[in-house]
């Protein structure tokens, strides 16, 4: 087994809000081996973006890391100073964001933005430009040379997201984090981009942390999957294991809603009755207990832990 690229353990993150402390992440554990694609799935508001903002240390000002460790290639990112962190960003650790319409600078040309992120290289401008060009071709952008001189508003959402992926992979990172990169795109485009991403990942050999609330995309792309609910990891394991034999009632709920629709390309997360608990005042026991139809007495007093190796779930009544 290869060495882990990312090792998150016991991570808890709070936001201070006017309604009190919001527990956005609680005791999150997550491990990514080199070269693997790990998917995170969960409803909107379950803390996916908070998790990746913590990894890349771009949390908003009202956030506070309560406890935990984020080991990246053996180094605790949470303990790094700003300068050391900056050295990793866009280098060993790259990012693709959710909204392609707003995540590129609107007043700088594509070429300029791609040039700027290569500031660490000593190469000449021409070398950097040809590198940008090559990268744009690799993500499947037609007529790449012309695109370099164009601005984000000239490009469609799909093209912009391809540019974002090209930028992220340009430095051949060890870990690529993609926060719902295809959510804003239509289904056909989504599939094209996912396939392209898969191929590039093989070429570059990087690990990928892929966030989505689209089950079909996760099952298509990922080697492993992590299911999150209301700030906690409730289940994790190999994609096939989790999809074929879900353990946690929440995962089962997601998958059982309509198994056929999982593969349907326009499927987003199915709706489970009830709503997310108030994260400023989470239930004392299992986080999913208020919505769970299988809960027992223990569930409302004690918190289940995500123990063990391989395919596991944080649940007292987990079906195995």
């Amino acid at each position: 087994m290869s060495a882990p690229v990312l090792n998150i353990s016991n991570l808890s993150v709070n936001y201070s809000t006017d309604r009190g402390t919001l527990h956005a992440l609680r005791d999150v554990d997550l491990h990514i081996q080199a070269g693997r694609i790990v998917g995170i799935v969960g409803e909107s508001g379950c803390g996916k973006s908070t998790l990746i903002s913590t990894i890349i240390r771009l949390l908003s000002a009202n956030a506070c890391v309560e406890e935990g460790e984020v080991l990246f290639q053996g180094e605790d990112l949470l303990a790094l100073d700003a300068k050391a962190m900056r050295k990793l960003r866009g280098n060993e650790l790259a990012m693709v964001f959710q909204d392609p319409m707003t995540s590129l600078n609107p007043v700088l040309s594509i070429g300029r933005q791609m040039l700027d992120i290569q500031y660490r290289d000593d190469g000449s401008k021409a070398e950097k430009k040809s590198r940008s060009l090559h990268m744009l071709e690799r993500v499947g952008i037609p007529d790449a040379a012309t695109q370099l001189d164009r601005y984000p508003h000239h490009l469609s959402g799909g093209m912009r997201q391809r540019v974002a992926i090209a930028m992220a992979l340009m430095t051949e990172p060890s870990l690529l984090i993609a926060d719902e990169p295809t959510t804003a795109l239509d289904a056909t485009l989504e599939i094209q981009i996912i396939q392209r991403l898969r191929q590039l990942q093989r070429d570059v050999g990087c690990a990928v942390l892929f966030i989505s609330h689209h089950l079909g995309v996760i099952s298509e792309l990922c080697d492993e999957v992590v299911v999150m609910y209301a700030g906690e990891v409730v289940e994790s394991g190999g994609t096939r294991q989790v999809f074929d034999a879900p353990k946690h009632p929440y995962t089962r709920g997601l998958l059982e809603c309509d198994p056929a629709s999982i593969q349907a390309s326009d499927n987003i997360l199915p709706v489970i009755p009830g709503q997310l608990p108030d994260l400023t005042d989470p239930p004392p026991g299992c986080i999913f207990q208020p919505r769970c139809d299988r809960s027992v007495a223990q569930c409302s007093s004690q918190r289940p832990r995500l123990d063990g190796q391989g395919h596991r779930a944080a649940c007292f009544v987990a079906t195995s």
Partner: protein, 316 residues
């Protein structure tokens, strides 16, 4: 880009034509006939009729308008009633003084205000930020002629640092620059805080935008992010407002030129009004309007240079 400039210049011409027509209409809607205004209430009817005829005021309005356009197209702004000099010549003689004054004021205010606003945004709630906040409100509340008078008393009369009167010897750049300091300060000081506030507000907004997060995620230096990725967007509204603000500043220049007894369009206009020198007043207002329209054109072109969405005719 070129296409944008051409398109925008066409618009400027149309605006100018409208403004000129409006000016013409305003003059003809003034109570009392121009001849009485020029010659005073006690002038004899014969004298008035003679003047009316000389100035073409006895013709139908449309004919007068057509002649007005034709004269303008040839650069003919009429002649000074007293000295018989062409008004265009007089205005062109004075206009540079006003342009230099206004540009010095607005340039100085931007040079201080933009970095100040940028810094306030990055270190918001710092001591300097609060200080700028208080100062800007204070300076906006005080009219520029009050500032002008205080500057005059303090820097010139009391401490004798800068000369108070005139524009300096022609040909002596240093002397002219020294004479420019006080009026430019009087005119521009109130703008420093205003510009700082504008830049601060938009900078705070831009720094929260997604693309800034992207730039950070790529490890770009904070300096690059602030100067090249954020400020460039954050100054856009300020540039537009400064272009329009030239209008306010021109009327401020009128006071500054009178207080500091400085040559310029303001002073020419002032004297023209006092002596009821109708063609001079008209010519001064006309050229000032043209200058104002030109400034809004320039500020739009700067915006288009900074923002590709503007030159593509997309709203940003």
């Amino acid at each position: 880009m070129l296409e944008y400039v051409i398109r925008r210049s066409g618009l400027a011409l149309v605006i100018l034509l409208l403004a000129v027509t409006l000016l013409f209409a305003m003059i003809h809607m003034m109570p009392g006939d121009p001849a009485s205004i020029l010659l005073g209430p006690k002038a004899s009817p014969e004298l008035k009729a003679a003047l009316n005829q000389r100035m073409g005021l006895d013709q139908p309005l449309l004919v007068q308008l057509a002649r007005f356009y034709a004269d303008l197209a040839q650069g003919d702004l009429g002649t000074d009633v007293f000295s018989n000099r062409p008004v265009l010549e007089m205005v062109l003689e004075q206009l540079p003084y006003t342009i230099v004054l206004v540009l010095a004021a607005i340039g100085g205010a931007s040079l201080v205000g933009i970095p100040l606003g940028c810094y306030s945004a990055i270190r918001h709630n710092s001591l300097l930020d609060r200080l700028v906040g208080v100062m800007s409100v204070a300076f906006i509340a005080i009219p520029s002629f009050v500032i002008a008078l205080y500057l005059l008393l303090l820097l010139s009369v009391k401490w004798r640092w800068f000369p108070a009167m005139g524009a300096g010897d022609s040909g002596d750049i240093v002397d002219q620059a020294r004479h420019l300091v006080l009026p430019a300060l009087a005119l521009g000081l109130g703008w420093v805080g205003y510009i700082a506030r504008l830049v601060r507000t938009s900078m705070l907004e831009v720094m929260e935008e997604n693309h800034i997060r992207t730039a950070r995620a790529f490890g770009l230096s904070e300096r690059t992010i602030i100067v090249h990725y954020a400020l460039r967007i954050a100054v856009l509204p300020t540039v537009t407002i400064l272009g329009l603000g030239i209008g306010t500043m021109l009327s401020g220049a009128l006071f500054a030129e009178i207080v500091f007894s400085r040559p310029g369009i303001g002073k020419l206009l002032h004297e023209g009004v006092l002596t009821r020198n109708y063609p001079v007043v008209m010519g001064s207002v006309l050229m000032t309007t043209a200058f104002f329209v030109l400034c809004t054109l320039i500020s739009d072109v700067i915006n288009a240079m900074l923002d590709p969405r503007v030159r593509d005719g997309e709203s940003s």
